[in-house]
């Protein structure tokens, strides 16, 4: 099955346009046509043409940006649909499906009838389709792209004979080379001695030829569905009590956790959708501080979210889905190992996170910089692990604040100064410690150039971190020591 206009057909299905239509993709700084409909092609446009040229040819061209990700998902959905014909469905490139219909064609009244059914159904769906059916995967591909139709069993060679060499799924360069030699059809290729061909074009050419003619086997690998971590529960009567919802959640959580465990993953984000009788739905999102699949631990974390839900006239369906999962391999438990401490902390972070947002629970990570403000990083605790490697060659203040200017002149710390409406007298000043700005990082606060830091112990007791900027004279207070 080949869908020559998969991308544009997908877009036109939702929004039919009776005009030349093209999807564009940005490639090396130019908008190029990615896929176009039959009317646009009839006007002389083609793929990989730049959009500006296409507009010059055809001023009323309707264009949209292409979305390759959605096209891939659409093809996946088509693959699931195609399982109505046979269980072995694989993907072929970005716009094709390959089906192994051995032994299932008779269920549809023969091969001809089955292809007719496919054509009718997909035409109704608005997709352009080219079909090829043959003994081998390569031959079917060739027929779909270059011939269309059925090659009767055992007559692959004859069906392919008149097709061009490009039907063998070859590179552009090999095709051009073959044509220069005058080998235009597959029949020409079959009658040519093999050894010189292999020497000239490498093993790929002959492998493709053998695959198409059935001398070398080529399997179809059906794609397994990605595991789905969602469950739902429908009630005969609507429920409204928090305890009932929690009990229902518990019933969904048990099998979900079993499924997570079977796949060796843990949930990081869970979504509980509560559908009410009036068709409205409410969602409770739970973001966990660590990947988890223990139902007994997850359930209490839902309590806060469920309590806030407005049940209206009652809830008649709940759906629980793990929307984000992370690998969580089974760990060996040592006899001497302390159990539970990191788990308890992760649970606590999750509970705090449900109130203030998981990204607001943070930890400090060391950073490699002499600039005091950049000597550490603040990272969400749920998405980082503690790191060692802290070092400070000399004492640093416990608190840092944005620099506050004080009166002072000259490179020596002022004898007396006022800061935050308090007056201080310098009793001892230790310094200077010169810190130069990092030239590779532009920083607004370090525009005034290098800084000479002084630790100033005042007669009043407070120990402050002052700095002087020699290139733009001024004194500032930036921190306070213990």
């Amino acid at each position: 099955m080949w869908f020559p206009r998969l991308a544009s057909d997908r877009v036109l299905r939702t929004r039919p346009i009776e005009a030349p239509f093209a999807l564009t993709l940005r490639q090396s700084n130019t908008e190029r046509i990615h896929c176009l409909n039959a009317r646009a092609e009839a006007l002389g446009l083609h793929r990989a043409m730049s959009l500006a040229d296409a507009r010059a040819f055809c001023p009323d061209l309707v264009s949209r940006p292409a979305e390759p990700g959605r096209d891939a998902r659409f093809l996946l959905a088509l693959g699931r649909w195609a399982r109505r014909y046979c269980p072995w469905v694989g993907r072929e490139g970005a716009d094709g499906l390959v089906l192994d219909v051995t032994g299932s064609a008779h269920l549809w009244g023969g091969e001809e009838a089955m292809l007719e059914d496919m054509r009718a159904r997909l035409a109704r769906a608005g997709l352009e389709l080219r079909l090829g059916l043959a003994d081998t995967r390569g031959a079917a591909w060739a027929l779909a792209h270059f011939g269309a139709g059925i090659a009767p069993a055992g007559q692959t060679r004859r069906a392919l004979a008149q097709l061009p060499v490009a039907a063998l799924r070859l590179d552009e360069a090999i095709c051009t080379g073959l044509q220069r030699l005058g080998l235009r059809t597959i029949a020409d290729l079959c009658t040519t001695p093999r050894a010189p061909l292999a020497r000239r074009f490498g093993p790929a050419l002959l492998a493709r030829l053998d695959q198409a003619l059935g001398d070398v086997a080529e399997a179809i690998s059906p794609e397994a569905d990605p595991p789905h971590f969602g469950l739902r529960l429908t009630f005969p009567d609507p429920i409204g009590l928090v305890s009932d919802v929690m009990a229902a959640t518990a019933r969904l959580l048990e099998p979900l956790c079993a499924r997570l465990k079977a796949q060796g993953v843990g949930a990081r984000r869970l979504e509980l959708t509560l559908r009410r009788v009036d068709q409205g739905s409410q969602q409770v999102e739970l973001r966990l501080a660590a990947a988890m699949r223990d139902a007994a631990r997850i359930l209490p974390l839902f309590e806060r979210g469920v309590a806030e839900v407005d049940a209206g006239f009652g809830i008649d369906q709940i759906r629980l889905e793990a929307t984000l999962v992370e690998p969580l391999p089974v760990e060996q438990i040592g006899a001497m190992q302390v159990q539970g401490a990191p788990d308890r902390l992760a649970d606590l972070i999750t509970r705090i996170g449900t109130r203030i947002g998981l990204e607001n629970v943070q930890r400090f990570l060391p950073a490699d910089s002499h600039i005091p403000e950049r000597s550490f990083l603040i990272a969400p605790a749920a998405y980082s692990s503690p790191e060692g490697g802290w070092c400070s060659p000399r004492p640093r203040p416990l608190r840092l604040f944005p620099p506050e200017a004080i009166a002072g002149s000259g490179p020596q710390p002022p004898e007396r100064f006022r800061w935050r409406r308090m007056s201080f007298a310098t009793a001892r000043a230790t310094g200077p410690e010169r810190i130069a700005p990092e030239w590779w990082l532009e920083d607004e606060n370090w525009r005034s150039g290098m800084r000479d830091y002084w630790r100033v112990e005042t007669r009043q007791g407070r120990r402050l971190w002052l700095f002087y900027t020699p290139q733009d004279p001024g004194w500032f207070v930036q921190g306070e020591f213990a």
Binding site: I356, N360, V361, Q362, I378, P386, Q460, G461, R462, E480
Partner: protein, 206 residues
């Protein structure tokens, strides 16, 4: 009326001071210019990890490299909350849970009786220690102890962390004041006599 009781002088002995670690299962308060240092030392002597609850709008920052002389900064967890109500809710949750033995809460408005009592009950339930850093005069009645911590100039020693800690409220004991110094290398607290602070000395504070 201050009751200035200079407690037993330990000199540079390594014996742990009698008032630390702070009594567990209770919430304490600290005020004064060296309250952050008091919190860092109390946290270092209680255990790890430590949760530090503060509001997101506060302009000054904790400097983890500065904490290095008291404790390992990777044992420090920080929460940035939108309001004091959120701060108190987070602190209550953490105190009750018991996974973090020490919780520091930066207070920006006075606690009412109910809030203070809830924090006490949470700390009691979890067996954890809470410490509220309060602006001066914003103490809550429910606090177990209230400390006033102020840095003191040390004429003898450079790089000193000499502080004067005064207990100004105590539900289960007497008042007192101590001069203490933190030893960065051994990460221990020493109670010292206020040397050079004799009445009439040139360096006397106040």
């Amino acid at each position: 009326m201050k009751s200035l009781v200079i407690a037993v002088v330990f000199g540079m002995s390594s014996a742990s001071p009698p008032f630390l670690p702070l009594r567990a299962g209770r919430v304490h308060e600290a005020c004064g210019p060296a309250a952050t240092g008091f919190a860092a030392i109390a946290a270092a002597m209680t255990g790890k990890p430590v949760l530090w609850v503060r509001e997101a709008w506060q302009a000054d920052n904790l400097h983890p490299v500065g904490f290095l002389s008291f404790m390992d900064p990777s044992d420090l967890l920080l929460t940035r909350t939108a309001s004091q109500t959120d701060s108190l809710a987070v602190a209550e949750e953490a105190l009750k849970d018991g996974a973090l033995p020490f919780v520091v809460i930066e207070i920006t408005r006075p606690l009412n009786l109910r809030e203070g009592r809830r924090l006490q009950l949470a700390a009691q339930a979890g067996g954890t220690t809470g410490l509220c850093l309060i602006p001066e005069g914003m103490g809550s009645n429910a606090a177990e102890t209230r400390w006033h911590a102020a840095p003191v100039f040390d004429p003898q020693d450079e790089d000193s962390t000499l502080m004067r800690w005064e207990i100004i409220k105590n539900k289960a004991g007497t008042f007192g004041a101590w001069h203490v110094r933190w030893n960065r290398e051994t990460r221990r607290l020493h109670v010292v006599s206020p040397v050079g602070l004799r009445p009439g000395s040139a360096n006397t504070p106040d």
